[in-house]
Symmetry: C2
Subunit: 249 residues, 2 copies
Amino acid sequence: MFWGHSMTTPLSPIIILVEPQLGENIGAVARAMLNCGLTELRLVKPRDGWPSEPARANAAGADLVIDGVTLYETVEESIADLQLIYATTARLRDMVKPVIPPETAAERLHQASLGGLKTGILFGRERSGLTNDEVVLADAAVIFPLNPEFSSLNLAQAVLLMGWEWRRQVLGKVAEEFMPAQSPPAERGHLLQFFTHLEGELARTNFFFPPEKKPHMLRNLRNIFERTKLTEQEVRTLHGIVRSLTRDG
Amino acid sequence: MFWGHSMTTPLSPIIILVEPQLGENIGAVARAMLNCGLTELRLVKPRDGWPSEPARANAAGADLVIDGVTLYETVEESIADLQLIYATTARLRDMVKPVIPPETAAERLHQASLGGLKTGILFGRERSGLTNDEVVLADAAVIFPLNPEFSSLNLAQAVLLMGWEWRRQVLGKVAEEFMPAQSPPAERGHLLQFFTHLEGELARTNFFFPPEKKPHMLRNLRNIFERTKLTEQEVRTLHGIVRSLTRDG
């Protein structure tokens, strides 16, 4: 089933809005998505609830997108079934994370789609964007190289630029063959289960000291494993390693 | 003076909105422009007048653009001092005109700017876009290769995509040297004066027959001369030819 999409219908990236505030903005996002041929929209805790009349009105006919919206309580749940995830952000604060421009992101998303992988792009709150803990969940941060003195995009504009770059990839290239790994890339949910397992054991063994450093240490730890693009098999192996190391002899 | 900008400060394309309806949209355009580093905005007969408080409010701080807006009564006047002009449109109706994608447009605009030429991009009314007679004034039509089943962009989104493509050119390339022609490209105002001259003489000599075909014939005529990218010297030559042909022996 995993490879079912690989040759005939490339999957499109899923757009994920984290705690969007205004229904109008969600509608404008839906319109920008459909302009670029993107159709799957996920919302994490929209402030004003869902469904939203302002969203539908502002979607200007992109009902296909509005009708298909799915809701999530947490960012982690919203990306659990995805295998390649990018986080759009205005800047990186105190974090070691690869940063790529939208064009590179679009190219990698498209190549992954051709290989049958499920991909997604995270967009943060209108005012404050994504938190560091949310950016950490992604494979890389996408930063738009806009006018450094005036770089704030509204939500729909940011989605439009990513959608546009993706569309340029789809239209502009003869589909290159994608070489899948031996074992498929891990679903994000499995990776998160591994983090929970590892971090639980580390907490039990007082790894996180002093306690106030724990959030920072956790982020660094997660970034290490995110960067390595683990396969399903490798995640299983890591679970085994942690179990083995914590066994009572 | 003409070449004064050529080596040090490449000129940016001027954004021209033809009869925009809502001040909010003009503001959103200003914001999208400044995001991409574009600063000069011209308005042809904005429906609700100018200045506009909704425009300033929706510009989200792009006061630099709003404060610099200039007003025009006609599209012809708004482009009279420009030398390379593109018209954005959703489709071409009954017209022979080169069509280019935004990326190509941006590349040519950037190269022209490096050569010190003044360039501009025309955007039409929110509902109906540009008329055929307005598209004819441009060197080429720009059509966005969006989802064919849902291709309607709002005004600010269209400006953002063009601005973005232009910015990618500016950032992504080492500035290539631009080879100016022997005589500089004609200012659009000079070309329009030539059309007026030529068309006046043709009307006097009953060229436009039957009368109901006149608009169509005029457009075809203009397209011929637009396509040839006339220099200042060539426009002067053409004036001389018309004068000579119409002399009473």
